[in-house]
C-alpha cells in the first residue's frame, strides 16, 4: 500500500525463499502487514516453494520417528491464540499482577527474588554495574510495573517485570538447568517489531541469575527464551523453552 516504496514489493520473492536477513526482513514484514498485494504474492510463492521442498523429499534416518514420538509425550503444546473481540472483556487469566500490589503469595516470592538478585548484582559488580542496576530499579519501581513468573519447559522459573511506560523489562530466573559453557540462555522479544534479541542470561549463582534488562519493549510483544550457542545469535535457532505474552 505504500506506493512511495515500490522497491519493497520486489522483496516478496526473496522473502518467500527465506533469503532476506535481519533488518531487511523486519522491514519487509512490517510492509507485509499493510500490503495486500504482497501478502497474496507471498502466499502463492510459499506454496510454490512447497513444491520445491516436496521435490527434495528423502528417507529420514531410522530411529527419528521413535525419538520424535517419544519427545511429544514429554512436550507440552502451546495453547491456541484467542482473538479478542471488542466489547467483550476477556476473562482475566493473565499471570501478570501489578508489581506494587504484591505482598504475599508466590508472586511476592518472585518479586523478592528479583530484588534479591538486584542487590547481589549491585554488590558484585559495583560501579560499572551501578547505572545498570539503577535502570533496573527504575523498571521495578515504575507505577505500571507488572510481574509474572512462568515455568520453562526444561524446568526452573523465569521472572519477568515489565513497565510499558519505560518500555523496558527485567528478567531473572531460578532453578534453570545449568548449561555447558558452549551454550547460553537467550531472551527474545517477539511481536510487531519482529523477533529481536533481548539479552543473555548470565551464569547462575546458587541457582539464580542476575537480572537482565531489555529495552524497546513494544505493545503486543511476547517474551521468549531459547538455548543458543555461547555469545548468542541474532535470531532463535532452537525451540523456545519459554513463551510469555507481555500484558496488554
Amino acid at each position: 500500500m505504500k506506493l512511495r516504496r515500490p522497491n519493497l514489493h520486489a522483496l516478496a520473492g526473496p522473502y518467500a525463499l527465506d533469503a532476506l536477513d535481519g533488518a531487511e526482513r523486519d522491514r519487509f514484514e512490517r510492509h507485509l502487514r499493510g500490503c495486500r498485494t504482497c501478502e497474496n504474492e507471498v502466499r502463492g510463492f510459499a506454496a510454490t516453494a512447497t513444491a520445491l521442498a516436496l521435490a527434495a523429499a528423502a528417507q529420514p534416518p531410522a530411529g527419528l520417528r521413535e525419538r520424535v514420538l517419544a519427545a511429544t509425550t514429554v512436550t507440552r503444546q502451546l495453547p491456541p491464540v484467542i482473538a479478542r473481540r471488542r466489547g467483550v472483556p476477556a476473562v482475566s487469566r493473565s499471570p501478570w499482577v501489578p508489581r506494587l500490589a504484591l505482598a504475599v503469595g508466590a508472586a511476592g516470592v518472585a518479586a523478592a527474588a528479583v530484588l534479591a538478585a538486584v542487590q547481589v548484582s549491585t554488590q558484585d559488580r559495583l560501579n560499572s554495574a551501578l547505572a545498570h542496576s539503577q535502570e533496573i530499579a527504575v523498571v521495578l519501581a515504575a507505577p505500571d510495573a507488572r510481574i509474572a513468573s512462568a515455568p520453562t519447559t526444561v524446568g526452573g522459573t523465569a521472572i519477568v517485570v515489565v513497565s510499558r511506560t519505560e518500555r523496558k523489562m527485567v528478567v531473572t530466573s531460578s532453578g534453570l538447568p545449568e548449561l555447558p559453557s558452549s551454550k547460553v540462555y537467550e531472551l527474545w522479544l517477539m511481536g510487531p517489531g519482529g523477533t529481536r534479541p533481548a539479552g543473555l542470561l548470565p551464569p547462575p549463582s546458587s541457582g539464580k541469575t542476575a537480572p537482565v534488562l531489555a529495552s524497546g519493549v513494544l505493545a503486543g510483544d511476547t517474551v521468549g527464551m531459547t538455548v543458543e550457542p555461547a555469545g548468542g545469535t541474532s535470531s532463535p535457532t532452537t525451540t523456545p523453552i519459554l513463551v510469555l505474552p507481555l500484558p496488554a
Binding site: T48, L54, A58, L64, R65, V81, S234, T239
Partner: protein
C-alpha cells in the same frame, strides 16, 4: 516403501486431510501426529538435508522441526495456507537459521570435522520423484539467471545478497529475477493458494 509414507497417500502441496489432522494434533491427538509424521517427515528431512548437507545435523534439525509441529500445532491457521506449506516453511526457516548461525560460528572457531554418516542417497519415494520431475520441468522453463537465483537461495540457503555475489550480478537484478522466476514457476506448476 519408506516409513514416511502412509496408506492414506503421499503428501500433496495442498492436502485438506492433513489440515484436519493438524487440527487434531493441536488437541493433543498422538495418533493424528503419527499420521502427520508419516506424511511429512520425508519432505522435512529431505529439504533440511538439501540445505545443510551434513546428515547428522540435518537429523537434529528435522527432529526439532517435527517436535515444533507438535508443540505449535494450535498456531496453524488453515485460512493462511495449507498444512504442508506451514510445516515445510518451518523446516526451511530452521535450516536457514542453522546455516546463518553456522556461518557466524565458523568465523569464530574452526569446526571439528564430523564423521560422515552413511545414508541411502537413492531412498527417494515415488511421489517425491514425480514431484521432482514436475519441478525439474518447470525449472527448465526459467531463464538461467532466474533458475540459479531461486535454487541457490532456496536449496543453497544463501541470502539474496550472497546469491548476487555468487552470480556476480547486481542486487536489484537478483531481487527481480527471483520474483519473476517464482511467478513463472508458480504458473507452470499450477499452484493454487
Amino acid at each position: 516403501m519408506g516409513p514416511f509414507r502412509s496408506a492414506s497417500g503421499p503428501a500433496e502441496r495442498s492436502d485438506p486431510d492433513l489440515d484436519n489432522l493438524l487440527t487434531l494434533v493441536a488437541r493433543g491427538d498422538q495418533g493424528a501426529f503419527e499420521s502427520v509424521y508419516d506424511r511429512l517427515a520425508g519432505p522435512v528431512y529431505g529439504l533440511i538435508r538439501k540445505v545443510l548437507r551434513d546428515p547428522a545435523q540435518s537429523e537434529e534439525v528435522a527432529q526439532e522441526v517435527l517436535l515444533e509441529v507438535w508443540r505449535t500445532a494450535s498456531r496453524f491457521d488453515p485460512g493462511k495456507g495449507s498444512a504442508v506449506t506451514w510445516v515445510l516453511t518451518i523446516a526451511h526457516r530452521r535450516a536457514i537459521d542453522r546455516v546463518r548461525s553456522e556461518t557466524a560460528a565458523a568465523e569464530r572457531e574452526q569446526r571439528s570435522a564430523t564423521a560422515p554418516v552413511a545414508v541411502d542417497e537413492t531412498a527417494e519415494s515415488v511421489e517425491a520423484s514425480l514431484e521432482a520431475e514436475r519441478v525439474r520441468r518447470c525449472l527448465d522453463g526459467l531463464t538461467e539467471l532466474q533458475r540459479e537465483s531461486i535454487t541457490l537461495a532456496y536449496y543453497g540457503g544463501y541470502s539474496y545478497p550472497q546469491v548476487a555475489a555468487l552470480l556476480d550480478t547486481a542486487l536489484g537484478t537478483i531481487k527481480t529475477r527471483i520474483r519473476d522466476g517464482l511467478i513463472r514457476l508458480r504458473d507452470c506448476l499450477g499452484v493454487s493458494w
